[in-house]
Amino acid sequence: MKGLRFVPALMAAGLLTGCASDGNVSDKSYLRAAVIGADSVTMSFFSEEDEPVTVSADSPEEARSAAELSGGKKIFTGYTELVILDGCDSADTLGFMLNEWKVSPSCIVACPRGSGAELLSTRTAEELEGAVRVAQEQELLGRCDIVTVLGGLLGRDGAAEVPELSRDGYVGKKSIQ
């Protein structure tokens, strides 16, 4: 009878192992960078097997669902490194990214010079992030992570400075509101 005491613990341990959860790494696409426009979203991924995809959507969550249907894999957004704001509501979009997509707090926020979708198709996310980090090292740019930028947008001034990117890499700073 004393052995019955261990039954709840074993059951709880079995339930908490996560064996019945979300599947294999290869079953998912891991989002690396996203361009959020007013009515479309472009996504690029870590794996070279996953091609960048552009979908029409009114919100990032709709875009994610559409991209998952298009690519046939679930999209994991927790490792997103770069978000490019291209005409969307900046504060709402970044708040959504932080709370719902649970992106990394060090995720860089930038804006494009020209079309954001074209930018992500001509330069890789790695090159664009690298350009931002070099600009920061050369003290041409301050902090532009999602927490800092969103804090600026929600602050008294309602504005924040983000890097401006083009196919030539980092081309300057821009104030967004």
């Binding site: 005491r5 490194e81 709370n99 990394s104 969103l150 600026g152």
Partner: protein, 336 residues
Amino acid sequence: MNRISKSQLAALMLIGDVFALCCLHGRICLMTAIGFAAGSLIQLFLALPLARLCDRGKTPADCGRAVRVLLLVCVLAWGGALFAMLREASSVIYIPYERSGLFGRLAVAGLVALVCVYVSSSGIKALARSAVIAAGLGALCVATVVVSAAIQSDADNVLRPAGSSLWRELMRGFAASGGLGSFTVLLGFIADDRTDTAALYFTCKAVLSFVILFTAAVVTGGIMDVLEFPVVSAAQLSQPFPVQRTDSLFLVVFSVFAVYTVAVQASAAEYLAALTIPRLKRFRCTLALVIMAALGAVMPAPSEWTELSAAAVLAALLIVPAEAMLKGGVRRRERA
């Protein structure tokens, strides 16, 4: 009778306090940190008569039935509030099954209750011993988040005005201290000096509350408007490890603290039920957990009934000394 040391009691209670801070809803600022710390020191002052009474041999077991019933109600109500806080905070912590609607939420609450039954069945001494280890791990996590926040965050965030007063934050601090009902009960289990125990616990609580809330304000001050649970978000965003959030690690710590916090209330309720309802001989702990879970399903979190929760905390701290004072007054009149 099970005896526990003052550090074990402090560990048990501080785990519950940290859990309540994690589930704190709404904006926080420097004034919140000051208010909670000051509130803890006021609670120490209010707890001294209780501690002195316990040192003289009077514990809740020696109190009248009305006092024990009131304490039992406070403990059960706070247990329900804990389940309510767990239900609300679960929305911002990634729990795999939580997103599965009603089944997910019931599964989370059910798992916590099941583990609490197991943990509480070994008695308060075993619970207290293991709490020291859990509290140590929790302290390590808090220290990691604090150091990470100090290195990476913007200290100007703490100076952002949040439109709050010291009185309001004192009330919030009292409302988040519902575990003091079980403190009143567990003080009778202490083998050491009870006054020293109270001083140790409340001092540690004041320091810990200030550090956690100050850190949360520094990390999330700029984005507080879009966050529901700033302490949880601060732990997730402080990023001691590069690239990734610490959601998974935080979930483990949060779950362990949830279990300990509820188990303490269940153990205190079981003890009071044994004194108050002697006919109820079996399944006292399970019944207490069922009542708490049922209350948690229907009641709002304490942030929505701050004044009532603060009043209940005051009652739990002062009821035993008040009863002793009344009885002493009656006896003096009778002798006269």
